[in-house]
Amino acid sequence: MRFLPLILRNLGRNKLRTGLTGVAIGLAVLLVCFFLTMPAGIDVFLSQIASNVRISVHHKGGLVYQMPFAYVNKIRAVPGVVAADGVVWFGGAFEEAGHVTFPSFAVEPEHVGAVWPDYHIDPAALERFRRFRDGAIVGRQTMEKYGWKVGQQVSLRSTIWPVTLTFRIVGEIPNARSPLFWFQREYLAQAIHEHGWTLSIVGIVWVRIADPALVDGVMTKLDAMFRNSPAETAAETEKSFFASYFGSLQGFVAIILVVTGLVALCVLCIAANTASMAVRERAREIAVLRAIGFGRGLVFGTLVAESTVLATVAGGTGALLTYAFTAGVKLAAGGWSTQLGPLSGFLVSPAIVGQGILLAVVVGLVAGIAPAYGAAHRPVASVLREVF
């Protein structure tokens, strides 16, 4: 600590170079932190949204194949099942905001509370949802994105069914990461009935199970129950359902990580370069220090500390600025994106900032070691003898 003023003085010698290096390191660490928020988004999404006692039952061949609606009651009768809700994909497009889509489903309102108790939807809102045929419950992310309020009416045009429906928002899912839009199954049934169709199918049945220990048994039983029927099912946990849905993002994540690695490597080279420059310039001075009795360890220590202090301060600033940067990107990207899914959450966690700072410290240390070691071990006499 006694040598901190010396270290700071040395950093201040060539202000331009220190500044440029600092900015480069800070910017790179900021980018690394930002990129890390993207893969981390999947984990956060799965742990926040998915429950370990909820499973999905859908057609084995794909979500595009439907199951008979009668399956829902059969599923409810299975021991271990607490509640089940059959949902139908609506594919609603909000034309007022320029034909945007978010996940919209027709659900059975009386079972929502029992299947998704972890969503903490206001019981009064659930009561209204049951009562009003045109009621809708909307995730906070979508509410905030379009500035919707409870009590407001919104129209969505279905891209699947030949109808446009007007809904009254009766409540919200109080989770800023939920893009969902739920409305009554009966409302859809009545609307398509006017076109001579009967709503007799269901796309996915969400099932809540009494105990995590029963989950595997119930899933096996459900699939066995519908084997050899026209619509064979595949039951899976909510986590596995979303994990496989988002599994296709892995390629994108891999590229992001490769670029992150390259940027990190770049920072290391920049820092190493600056450290070696500093040492080279001060070769004589270091030799003088050694000549008047300062030890190798001290010379080595102060030089490594110099590069570490610079990298840590610059990198730490960059890591902290990630908060501001992600806020900006979030604003520009605008909420839920079908392409990015949970990658577009951009949630900066203290862990990510910590990793960024750690990266900066390691970069500073590694970059400083080689030139500092060289400087500390060069023979004093020969350095002093050099004209330049």
């Binding site: 480069a24 794909g62 496989s244 420059m277 990107v329």
Partner: protein, 392 residues
């Protein structure tokens, strides 16, 4: 005094081998980071935007925004087939392709599960979609449970090999060929016999109809004619517009990549220029010496800038080779990069480094060399030689 000999910078590189290697390394890294990103952006754009033929129309049920959610009856198809203004084969068959689209599950080679786009067509489809060519194996035979798979599908999904049996959705199909369409989104599809796929889907016979217009047809008039037909609620769209609309849904992703490409370029470029800057700045004394010996400012500047640009170009060459290697490794490791399409199927984007991406990287590397070399050399050359020498 005349100019500095060319051997001066060359020997100089040799004299400072480690520093030069470091500078080249940083520039190469910057080139790789930016060109991988650029390649990702252009590959994505190629897949999403370039699809579709300019003289094709797509007809869907009114209100559907993609053929995955559209439904069309047999009667509507028959009416569409015999409209005026549609191109025909020499034997008089109209170039109208009725298609049925499904999105069942398929298994990826990595063991994941994704929705894949299964398109049921008649043989006429190859004449309507004239950018699609079977390049390996052969076209499927009708009603034989055979399919052909797009190039992107072949790389990404399990058993998507010619001669293999591939399980998709509810049943097994025999893969008999691989087709290409110049990198567009068709390459993320599987094509099979229309009747086979409609039977599997068990709903309306068709999703939509694609038609090729005869040369000289008034496209707008034909579109209006189809849209106004009161019997079937249809809507016709130029195929190119249709794919442009599909691409819009990827706008967020695209925007995000561009937003990120800029700081990546700035950070990497800044770092590389900084390294270069440092390399030249450390030679202030040398520049002072040259000045004291009587070399003019211009001569010295030229020599130093030439040296740093050459070093940048070497960095670019190393970086370009690195980029191709990284892209190749990523292709092998990932089997194509998947992006969710609006149809909830997957667009398989093959990461290809195009010449344009490398051109941009070349400009970038040259700029690094110019800025990183010129600024410090300028400063040193404009110091009084005595001062520059005193910097020792």
């Amino acid at each position: 005094m005349s100019g500095l000999p060319l051997s001066y910078p060359v020997r100089n590189v040799r004299a400072r081998l480690r520093r030069t290697a470091l500078t080249i390394g940083v520039i190469a890294l910057a080139v790789i980071a930016t060109s991988v990103f650029l390649a990702l952006i252009t590959s994505l754009k190629r897949t999403l935007v370039a699809s579709g033929s300019p003289d094709n129309l797509i007809v869907l049920r009114k209100g559907s925004d993609n053929d995955g959610s559209s439904m069309l009856s047999y009667e509507a198809y028959q009416v569409l087939r015999y409209l005026d203004g549609i191109a025909t084969l020499p034997d008089g068959t109209p170039l109208v392709s009725a298609e049925k689209v499904m999105q069942p599950f398929a298994r990826t080679r990595a063991g994941g599960r994704e929705n894949i786009l299964l398109r049921g067509v008649d043989p006429i489809a190859l004449a309507v979609h004239d950018e699609v060519h079977v390049v390996e194996g052969r076209m499927f035979r009708p009603s034989a449970g055979e399919i052909v798979v797009g190039r992107g599908v072949a790389g990404r999904y399990a058993d998507a090999d010619v001669g293999a049996d591939m399980f998709i959705g509810k049943r097994t199909w025999r893969v008999v060929g691989i087709f290409e369409s110049g990198g567009t989104s068709f390459e993320s599809e599987i094509w099979g016999d229309l009747r086979d796929i409609a039977r599997d889907a068990n709903t309306f016979p068709y999703s939509g109809v694609r038609m090729k217009l005869a040369p000289g047809t008034d496209r707008q008039a034909l579109i209006e004619r189809i849209d106004r037909d009161p019997r079937y609620a249809l809507q016709a769209t130029p195929e190119v517009d249709y794919y442009a609309e599909q691409a819009k849904s990827a706008g967020t992703l695209y925007l995000l990549l561009v937003i990120l490409a800029i700081p990546v370029g700035v950070a990497a470029g800044f770092g590389a220029a900084n390294t270069m800057f440092a390399a030249v700045q450390s030679r202030t004394v040398e520049i002072g010496t040259l000045r004291a010996l009587g070399f003019s400012r211009g001569t010295i500047l030229r020599s130093f800038v030439l040296e740093s640009v050459v070093i940048s170009l070497i960095g670019f060459v190393v970086g370009a080779a690195g980029t191709l290697l990284v892209a190749f490794l990523l292709r092998i490791a990932l089997g194509g990069i998947a992006f969710g399409a609006q149809t909830f199927t997957i667009n398989v984007v093959t990461l290809r480094v195009s010449l344009r991406d490398l051109e941009a990287a070349l400009v970038f590397a040259t700029a690094i060399g110019l800025v990183g070399g010129l600024l410090p050399a300028w400063r040193a050359a404009h110091l009084r030689p005595v001062e520059a020498l005193r910097k020792a």
